[in-house]
């Protein structure tokens, strides 16, 4: 029997991380993810050998993560949009050095200081690299508090599997809302050993070097080729939830909290005799191009809806532009899309 707990999204991420064996957290306060840093402080400071550290800046936090990951620790940092921008240099280094870690972005309105309300404007930054150089993060997009738990645990495992940073891309609404959650059993013994590459005592072996650069362009290109191969290998992890896709009048594509709102719109639409299908990417990188491409023909029109000016839209266009007419509806700045708005858009497109 697994206990069900009522938890706030941000706290659920923290508990999931600890559940998955994360014992090192470095972060800097920012709204709307502050409950997460507070939760990590409350829990990790009571666990012997664990580290919670409120760093002097986002830059310091991500570089502490870099060090902790290099030393083989299961490590996490979290922030919200402007703070994630500050971390980008370090994320690029960690990716080049091929170290595992989890980064949580509870998005808020942007650009600039933006607002502190929910948004999805960091999709490009999260999925296309974000910092300098050719690289990708593994990006997971939870849609409920339960998924914040499940995907946080999965993020640690995928980060270890590919020795690549993984990002939880949530938003201020997911972070702040409360729902019942379950923590399935997790055996920390399943965490892969880092003994073969992590820094530590070099007794009885050659000294190890973690070097995120090479001044020889041919050698640096080899690093890029190795990363590229890793991203190709990752494509098999692509996941997409399909809802009501048997015979839809129209297909909506949305991720994260917006997909959740679309599910309400689907129920409302049914009462009016409209059948809305939903494709919800769970992994944003790798993006489920194949799944979306294979299902795009099921209606003549697709509506992509995001709390942005249209970012995931471009990936949907890549996946399905030859199979259906692709439309977009977005709200920004911290404005949350309502089910009624989505239904109105659907009606306009079906008229």
């Amino acid at each position: 029997m697994v206990d069900r707990l009522l938890m706030k999204g941000n706290e659920a991420i923290g508990e999931a991380a600890i559940h998955a064996g994360c014992r090192y957290y470095f972060g800097y306060p920012i709204t709307p993810q502050s409950e997460l840093i507070a939760y990590m402080a409350k829990r990790l400071l009571k666990i012997e050998g664990a580290t919670f550290l409120q760093s002097e800046s986002e830059l310091a936090a991500i570089n502490m993560v870099y060090g902790a990951a290099a030393a083989g620790g299961r490590v996490m940092t979290s922030s919200s949009s402007p703070g994630i921008s500050l971390k980008q240099e370090g994320i690029s280094y960690i990716t080049c050095a091929e170290l595992p870690c989890v980064i949580v972005n509870i998005m808020r309105g942007g650009p600039g200081l933006g607002s502190i309300q929910p948004a999805q404007g960091d999709y490009f930054q999260a999925t296309k690299g974000g910092g300098h150089g050719d690289y990708h993060l593994i990006v997971l997009a939870p849609s409920s508090v339960q998924e914040l738990v499940d995907l946080t645990i999965k993020a640690f495992n995928l980060a270890d599997k590919y020795r690549n940073p993984a990002m939880i891309l949530g938003d201020g609404l997911l972070g702040q809302m409360m729902e019942p959650v379950e923590f399935k059993e997790f055996d920390v013994k399943t965490i892969p050993s880092k003994e073969s590459w992590a820094l530590g005592s070099s007794e009885g072996r050659e000294a190890r070097r973690i070097v995120p650069f090479n001044l020889d362009p041919i050698e640096m290109e080899k690093i890029n080729n190795r990363l590229k191969q890793k991203y190709l290998d990752m494509q098999k992890e692509a996941e997409c939830e399909l809802v009501n896709m048997d015979n839809p009048d129209i297909v909506v594509v949305a991720y994260g909290i917006v997909a959740r709102i679309v599910k309400t719109a689907i129920q409302k639409a049914k009462k009016e005799g409209i059948n809305i299908g939903l494709m919800r990417p769970v992994t944003l990188y790798p993006f489920p191009y194949q799944i979306i491409g294979d299902n795009a023909h099921k209606a003549k029109k697709i509506l992509v809806t995001e709390m942005s000016m249209g970012q995931m839209l471009e990936d949907v266009q890549l996946a399905a532009c030859d199979k259906a007419e692709i439309n977009f509806y977005g709200r920004t700045g911290g404005v949350v899309i309502s089910p009624v708005e989505i239904l109105e858009e659907v009606k306009k497109l079906l008229a």
Partner: protein
């Protein structure tokens, strides 16, 4: 025949990339000797900076990582928190530590992270070709202070030991030079002491080493040593700035 002098075991066989007359070579040797003397090479993890000493990762025969510019104290913090039983040191220049990495060094010192910082101050950015550093002296000509550092618009050179010594927490802070054998002996003692402080769990230790950059100063190695003694030591006085051992 008895061997009376050899390369420290904590250095690899990779030839140094440093310019003739630059003090990095001496400093590498002193750090390596300290690791040898304390018999901690195999337990040590070094953090190399961005700058001329980025190649330090090739020269020290212990586990090494290259940090982002200025962030070595943060990276070292992460390592030390995961591996508290290992010895962790950073090796940083003046641009790295006292300009882009000012926040990281101040806060690592203030938390008294149990790490050792080897801070090389040669009053100039070396690797990028001789631009003004936070430690460039008043009136000193560099690529980016071509008419001399003007304190009215460029500020006065930052004294890192003095600055960090205003904090309560750091355990050991000392400034040394290398321009004559007596100084080198003192520098070696200070570096060894800094590592000993870490081994004893006393907290943050930092040794600032006044160093030459003949290439970017436009002086011969001999002239560079003279310039350092005449200009740097009066502004950057040598000695111990913090020793919590003696306070307690």
């Amino acid at each position: 025949m008895k061997k009376v002098f050899e390369k420290p075991k904590s250095l690899t066989d990779v030839p140094f990339t440093y310019c003739p007359g630059c003090h990095h070579g001496i400093i590498h040797r002193l750090v390596a000797e300290a690791l040898d003397d304390l018999n901690i090479t195999k337990d040590t993890i070094g953090v190399a900076p961005v700058g001329c000493a980025v190649f330090a990762y090739l020269f020290f025969d212990c586990d090494m990582i290259v940090a982002a510019h200025g962030r070595a104290p943060a990276t070292a913090t992460g390592i030390k928190r995961v591996k508290p039983d290992n010895v962790v040191f950073t090796y940083q220049g003046d641009g790295d530590l006292a300009s882009i990495g000012t926040a990281e060094i101040v806060h690592a010192a203030n938390r008294s992270e149990k790490i050792t910082v080897i801070f090389v101050n040669n009053a100039v950015y070396g690797m990028t070709g001789g631009q003004m550093a936070p430690t460039t002296l008043e009136g000193q000509i560099t690529q980016t202070s071509p008419y001399g550092r003007d304190p009215k618009t460029m500020g006065m050179p930052i004294r890192v030991c003095e600055l960090l010594s205003t904090l309560n927490s750091p355990a050991y802070i000392e400034r040394v030079a290398l321009t004559k054998p007596a100084y080198i002996i003192k520098a070696k003692k200070a570096i060894k002491k800094a590592f000993q402080f870490q081994l004893d769990g006393k907290g943050f230790s930092l040794v600032e080493i006044l160093s030459t950059c003949p290439t970017n100063w436009g002086l011969s190695p001999k002239e560079s040593n003279e310039w350092l003694e005449k200009n740097m030591i009066p502004y950057y006085p040598l000695g111990e700035f913090k020793n919590l051992e003696e306070v307690s």
